[in-house]
């Protein structure tokens, strides 16, 4: 129970300080979350350049949202960032006028694979990973989002539930279906 209270306290403290236009705390928030948000956007829309632009917009929108609104609807700051990110991606699709899946296997914009993987792992994993990455855009939007949040960005079920406004049970079912669908795509 004490760890829950500490967590709640830190969250309330961060949100209150942001509301008070504390530059220092927002810098910390940016440093802690920019990579995750960028990765989320990148795997959703498939373009690194677009992901860069959108990530900047997302943080600026979050800052403005905190200043102009009450923060009771966001349990954590991370959930708020993802909600703003999802809305920003919807606006991006609307502006583009299309919703075609974009392949991530683009030679001009190769996906960076971590250099710390071993040589043997790299070869096998490269192929498997490349397959996964190539198939991801063909997944249903909802399934892709679930997989990115849960298995790539390590969000908890509770956080996903808060972001997507779905029950935890519903999230669990969607995750199972998403994995099944991805496996079927890879085997096809």
């Amino acid at each position: 129970m004490s760890s829950n209270i500490v967590k709640k306290f830190k969250n309330k403290q961060t949100l209150s300080r942001l509301k008070s236009r504390d530059k220092e705390v927002f810098t910390e928030v940016y440093d802690q979350n920019v990579t995750d948000i960028h990765r989320f956007v990148y795997f959703k829309i498939g373009s690194r350049e677009e992901a860069n632009d959108l990530t900047s917009i997302i943080f600026l929108k979050t800052w403005n949202h905190i200043q102009n609104n009450t923060l009771e609807d966001a349990k954590t700051l991370r959930a708020l960032l993802y909600k703003v990110a999802r809305n920003a991606i919807i606006d991006y699709y609307r502006e583009r006028g299309s919703h075609k899946p974009v392949s991530l296997d683009d030679e001009q914009n190769p996906v960076d694979i971590a250099a710390d993987m071993s040589q043997s792992d790299k070869i096998d994993d490269d192929q498997d990973l490349k397959r996964i990455i190539s198939k991801l855009p063909f997944l249903k939007e909802e399934y892709r989002e679930m997989i990115i949040m849960r298995f790539i960005n390590d969000l908890s079920l509770e956080e996903i539930s808060d972001i997507t406004q779905k029950s935890r049970g519903n999230v669990r079912v969607l995750l199972h279906r998403a994995l099944t669908a991805l496996k079927e795509l890879m085997e096809s």
């Binding site: 709640k8 008070s20 220092e24 994995l179 085997e187």
Partner: protein
């Protein structure tokens, strides 16, 4: 590929990250943008206030509510006797007054003070009963049963006052002696005190149970103990030292005086003509005198 393998492969995609050059440039740009919108470093006082407010909000509401409830319970148990102190024996809140007085007694740690407070409460009860019975609006044929009960209650209160006064005076004297003659207790002394239980009635037993250290202090030898214990009764025996004789006389006087006044209060109560009781408060005055003796 199993689900587990697929998930572990997906986990490795955590390593996908933006270019470090973009990260650096975007950070600077972003900080510049929010600075333009009024962001700045907060003062220490403001941060402290925010931390305090956040802690209050973060504390689980049920825990907070329980804490407030416990606080109200403790405060009300300490101060409720003041709220109900005006309730008379024929009022419905009288039971609340009794309960709050008991709670107040339980908060007093010093046994001597506790006893004095108990005597004070008992005297107050007796006085209130006298007052109620002196009211002709209450004391009539219609309330015959209640009047009889109150009479009985008065007698019980008087008896408890008598016992507690004896006990209170004995304890006060013994604690005064302990300051001058600190000595250790002997087992023989305890058994002698127990032997005299029947002679002393409840007083010795209370002294033994509640004030064992004080009893210890007055014992020097088994024979002296026997003499001192006997001296608390109506018997008088010569003792070996003058100091002991002086203490025993004062103790005896106090008890005798208190007993006498209690008897007078009882007599006044018994002979009161309730219809004229508005002007006759002698029982009440006598009980006030008893209160002064035990102070």
């Amino acid at each position: 590929m199993t689900d587990k393998d697929l998930i572990s492969k997906l986990n490795t995609l955590k390593n996908v990250s933006p270019e470090s050059s973009w990260l650096k440039s975007n950070r600077e740009l972003f900080l510049a943008q929010i600075s333009n919108s009024g962001a700045d470093k907060l003062s220490t006082g403001r941060i402290f206030f925010i931390n305090f407010k956040s802690f209050l909000k973060a504390s689980s509401q049920p825990v907070f509510a329980l804490g407030v409830f416990m606080l109200v319970l403790v405060v009300s148990s300490l101060f409720s006797h003041k709220l109900f102190s005006q309730a008379k024996p024929n009022d419905s809140l009288y039971i609340a007054r009794i309960i709050s007085e008991k709670a107040k007694l339980n908060t007093v740690l010093n046994p001597a003070e506790k006893n004095k407070l108990a005597v004070k409460f008992a005297i107050n009860h007796a006085q209130d009963i006298s007052e109620v019975l002196s009211d002709p609006a209450f004391n009539n044929e219609e309330n015959k049963d209640q009047v009889a009960k109150l009479n009985e209650s008065f007698n019980k209160e008087i008896d408890s006052v008598r016992k507690m006064v004896n006990s209170s005076v004995a304890k006060t004297t013994e604690s005064e002696e302990s300051k001058h003659n600190p000595v250790e207790m002997s087992d023989e002394a305890i058994s002698i005190a127990a032997e005299h239980k029947s002679e002393q009635g409840i007083e010795i037993k209370e002294a033994q149970l509640n004030e064992a250290p004080v009893v210890r202090a007055t014992i020097t030898a088994s024979t002296t103990v026997k003499e001192e214990v006997k001296a608390t009764t109506t018997e008088t025996e010569a003792t070996s030292t003058e100091a002991k004789v002086e203490v025993e006389l004062s103790q005896d006087d106090k008890i005798n005086e208190a007993d006498k006044i209690i008897d007078e209060a009882q007599a006044s109560f018994n002979k009161i003509d309730y219809k004229s009781s508005a002007n006759d408060s002698s029982a009440i005055d006598k009980l006030d005198e008893v209160l002064n003796i035990i102070k």
